[in-house]
Amino acid sequence: MDTGPMDAGTGPMGTSARRGPGELESEVLAALWATDRPLTPAEIQAELGGDLAYNTVHTILKRLYDKALVIRDAEGRKGAYRPAKNAAQLSAEAMHKALERGPDPIATLQQFVSGLGPDEEAALRAFLAAEDRARRTAEERDERSPEQAPARAPAEG
């Protein structure tokens, strides 16, 4: 969804050479969990960036399937995969139980993000909004010819 011109100026996305098989498994699994609908290997390939070979995605899905972490979508499209939710449910309960023993730095200090104050929330919202505006402007500019630099911001609400 987001492999467009936004990244062109800021840096290459083609770093998959460094991604090991375990990391790719995580990425594919994360992609399947991030959506409510089953995904085909081609859709996963498109999600993760074009530099990933279709065969690689297929191999990773096979490995995840062997570990019973993904299931083939039975009623839906042929060849599409869903994450195996039943397998994860047990783990989740055990994990929550372990976490509730906290406060413990293993569980707490390593949270990706901690709580936010109102000012902090406003600052982050402003940052993301500004980035979205910049991206839309860049996309518009790319659609036009390079001679006509856009003088006005996109007029959408």
Binding site: M1, D2, D7, T10, G11, M13, T15, R18, G22, E25, S26, E27, L29, A30, A31, W33, A34, T35, E47, L48, G49, K67, L69, P83, K85, A88, Q89, S91, A92, A94, M95, H96, A98, L99, E100, R101, G102, P103, D104, P105, I106, A107, T108, L109, Q110, Q111, F112, V113, S114, G115, L116, G117, E120, E121, A123, L124, R125, F127, L128, E131
Partner: protein, 313 residues
């Protein structure tokens, strides 16, 4: 000797502000190792200094003088008030030790929970997804370490942001950040003067993982997005897991700003940062020196007193 032994006890008052001032000038992973290492060192030498004070006080006890074969009436260089100081030192040691033991028990329980949970997964999967709408993500140490993320968090992020999140948690595991955090936490339990190092260490550890995430996606702005969006998602989703609430408001905007700034490797090496580094190194060396000096002096005082006792025989 009697002056030197007090120095390690007072040292955190100068060293902690100096360390806090130096940390932002270092690359985050260096800052994390420096802060954790300094915390453990400062706790160790202050504990050793308390033990020396106890030994000095005990040396004033006449019965021990007889048993230890030295002249009663104290060791040379030890003032008459040493027993009183020793009582205070015993109290400080007892409080510090019991706090440290309690925290250590909590951490070892947490670690064993994490390990047994990891064993229960029965495969080597790196990513464990919790089917939970509330967005959360953390690194779980173990062999192998796991990345635990809720499906709610994955829903909130785009593919590049998910990659940044995974790289961030992976960096926590690869960098053994939980070891640094636990070591520093135990040091602060032993010596409460070190407590103000903990938020700085926690921030350095997060920054270090953020830098790894930025390197993985090859785009600092995208990594900043991931941090900002994850923070907002967690906030909107009723906050992170209740166990995390005691962490209070985190310095997420600072982390975002740091990712938008040039990478730390390109940070200017200013005169100020070099001066602060020299001060920190000097203070730590002074503390070690004072500790060694007071132990050596106590030892030689006992030997002198024993020699005097032998002559008077």
């Amino acid at each position: 000797m009697y002056f030197a032994v007090h120095l390690p006890l007072l040292l955190p008052l100068a060293a902690v502000p100096a360390l806090r001032a130096l940390a932002p000038h270092l690359a985050p992973h260096r800052a994390a190792w420096m802060l954790a290492g300094a915390a453990v060192l400062l706790a160790a030498i202050s504990t050793l200094a308390l033990l020396v004070l106890v030994a000095m006080g005990v040396s004033e006890v006449p019965l021990l003088a007889v048993l230890g074969h030295y002249t009663p009436g104290g060791l040379p260089g030890v003032p008459g008030t040493a027993p009183l100081t020793a009582c205070a030192a015993v109290a400080a040691l007892a409080v510090g030790l019991s706090r440290t033991v309690r925290r250590a028990a909590l951490h070892s329980r947490g670690l064993s929970d994490a390990l047994s949970y990891g064993r229960g997964l029965a495969d080597d999967r790196e990513l464990v997804v919790l089917p939970d709408r509330s967005p959360l993500a953390y690194a779980l140490p173990g062999r192998p370490g796991r990345i635990v993320v809720s499906s709610g968090m994955l829903h909130a992020l785009d593919p590049a942001e998910r990659r940044a999140l995974l790289a961030h948690e992976r960096a926590h595991l690869a960098g053994h950040h939980h070891v640094l955090l636990i070591a520093a936490e135990l040091a602060a339990a032993a010596n409460p003067l070190l407590h103000r190092l903990l938020p700085v260490l926690s921030y350095a550890v997060e920054r270090s993982a953020d830098e790894a995430a930025a390197a993985e996606v090859g785009d600092r702005t995208k990594a900043a997005h991931a941090v900002a969006r994850a923070a907002l998602a967690a906030h909107a989703g009723g906050g992170p897991h209740p166990a995390a609430l005691h962490a209070g408001t985190g310095p997420v905007p600072q982390r975002v700003a740091a990712l938008l700034a040039p990478p730390p490797a390109r940070m200017p090496n200013t005169h100020t940062s070099r001066a602060v580094a020299v001060v920190v190194a000097g203070l730590l060396a002074l503390g070690i020196g004072a500790c060694v000096e007071s132990v050596v002096d106590l030892h030689s005082a006992v030997e002198t007193a024993q020699a005097a006792y032998g002559e008077s025989d």
